[in-house]
Structure formats: structure tokens, C-alpha cells
Amino acid sequence: MSPRLRDVAAGALPWALLLLMAAAGPAARAADTSAAQQLLRWSAQAGQPGDAAAGRVFFTSRHGGEWSCASCHGNPPTTNGRHESTGKTIAPLAPAFNPKSFTDTAKVEKWFRRNCRDVLERECSAREKADVLAFLQGLQP
């Protein structure tokens, strides 16, 4: 590389980095996990492997409240769901039908926390999460 070219490149690098940061924005997160990893993680915490059959029952039950997971995500959640109160389209939850599903740890945490409170009025246990992941992983085209 000629000195002149190196000079230009060195000058351009911070700009390129800044542009990248500006484009990504503060909310952009990397795909840092997968549904398979999440299943392993919750199974390890629960001390037993996720049970797909139990997960199916959990997913479709109302748990004494007004909503089930399936109320918004659909049953089976392999196609677009619809938010029960707003009507907004929700992308398929089953990983085989949505490559972005369960690929962001912070999002997984956030939505389990919020949605479990909405459906069960409490947070879900590791075992319940493992069961749901096993159920969702079992849904294949």
C-alpha cells in the first residue's frame, strides 16, 4: 500500500466505523444465540430435558387467566400470529418457520418475562421454558 493510500485508508476508517454505528443504532443487537442453545440452557437450569408434549399443553393452556401463549402466537405457531387485543401481525414463533426466532438472548429474556406475566401473572420457571422450547423445536415443515 502506498503511503498516500494508507493515509486515506487511515482517515476513512473512523468514518466507516461511525457510519456502521449510526446505521446499527442503539437497539440493534447481534444474533448471539439459537433456539437449540436456549433449549439446552433452560434444560440445564431445570435439571431435566425439555418435554415437548408438556410444552404443547403449557403453550395452549390458559392457566386460569384470559390468554394462552397461543392466543397471540397461534396454534401451532408455525404461521403468522395475531395480537389478541391489537390485531397486529406477529411473526411465526417456531424456529423452523422463522430464522430470527430465539436468536437474541436479550429479546428471549424480555419476551418470556413480559408474556409469562401476561398469561400466568408470574414469570415462567426454567422447566416451563425448556418444555416450550422443546415443543417449538419439534415443529417442523
Binding site: G11, P14, W15, L18, L19, M21, A22, G25, P26, A27, A28, R82, H83, S85, T86, G87, K88, I90, K110, R113, R114, N115, R117, D118
Partner: protein
Amino acid sequence: MSRVLAFVAGALLLSAAPFAAQADGGRRMPAQVPPAYAAECGSCHLAFPPGALPARSWLRMVSGLDDHYGTDASLDEATVQQLSGWLVAHAGTWKRVREEPPQDRITRSAWFEHKHRRIAPSAWKLPSIRSAANCAACHGRAEQGEFDDDRLRVPAGLDARSRRAFDE
């Protein structure tokens, strides 16, 4: 030296650009929407334009996200601060939006009720609409922040009287 100055100026511009306070206060979606707004406020419902509510309504809303109209929409504090700053900077200041609506609901706003006065109350419950919050059922470009009357589409099953509101 001049390159350093240009770099600093550029860095300032770039970092500020996505959240530039244009304090327009109008009804249109601001040109720059923080990615966190689309991600956090646009998952369960449309990412509504900040001009749809006055600043005090937005402030109340973001301070009570753990019980957001019956659902848990809680966020980390940093995101709450970021979004509340943006919402307040772009909150509605035009005539019919100044009054805070009951429960800070956009759909109870004077401007919303006026604009939709010819829609039968029963129409909102149609399966093709489901909720007055589902703007995109009729406003075809709502996801892009456009609510122009000439972009309307008639949802399935709409009664004849309500449909007439679409023709005018």
C-alpha cells in the same frame, strides 16, 4: 488539523442525527425514528406517530409500561429514557391533540374521534379490524407512518354506512 476538526464535526453530526429534535409536533411520523422505538413499541401494535398524543400523555405512558393497558411492556431504564426523550421532542402540539385523552389512549383523543366519527362503533370489532388501535386494517401505509385519506382500503365485512366514510 482541519481533518481532525472535520472528523469531530462529522462525529457529532452522525451521533446526533438519528435523534435530532425537530420538535415538529405534527401528525406525521418524524423522518428519523429510533430503532428502539420500532422494536419496542412496534411489536404488539403499530409504532404510533408521537404526534398522536400530547407530551404529558407520553410521559405518563412510558413511566407505567409494566402495566400497559393490561399487558407487561416493561423496558430497561436506559431505553425508557431514550424513548421518552424522543416522544416528548416530537409529541403532538397541534390544535386537536393538546388535550390529554382519557387513559392516554390515542383512540379516545378528540382528533381521533373526530376523524373516525362516521365509522360505526360495531365496525371496530370486525375480525378484519379487531381493534381501533389496528390502524393498518384501513390505513394501508400506516406502517410507514402515512395516514392520508387517499390511501384508505375498506376492510372485509364493513357495513355500508361506515363504508361511505371512505368515499368522501
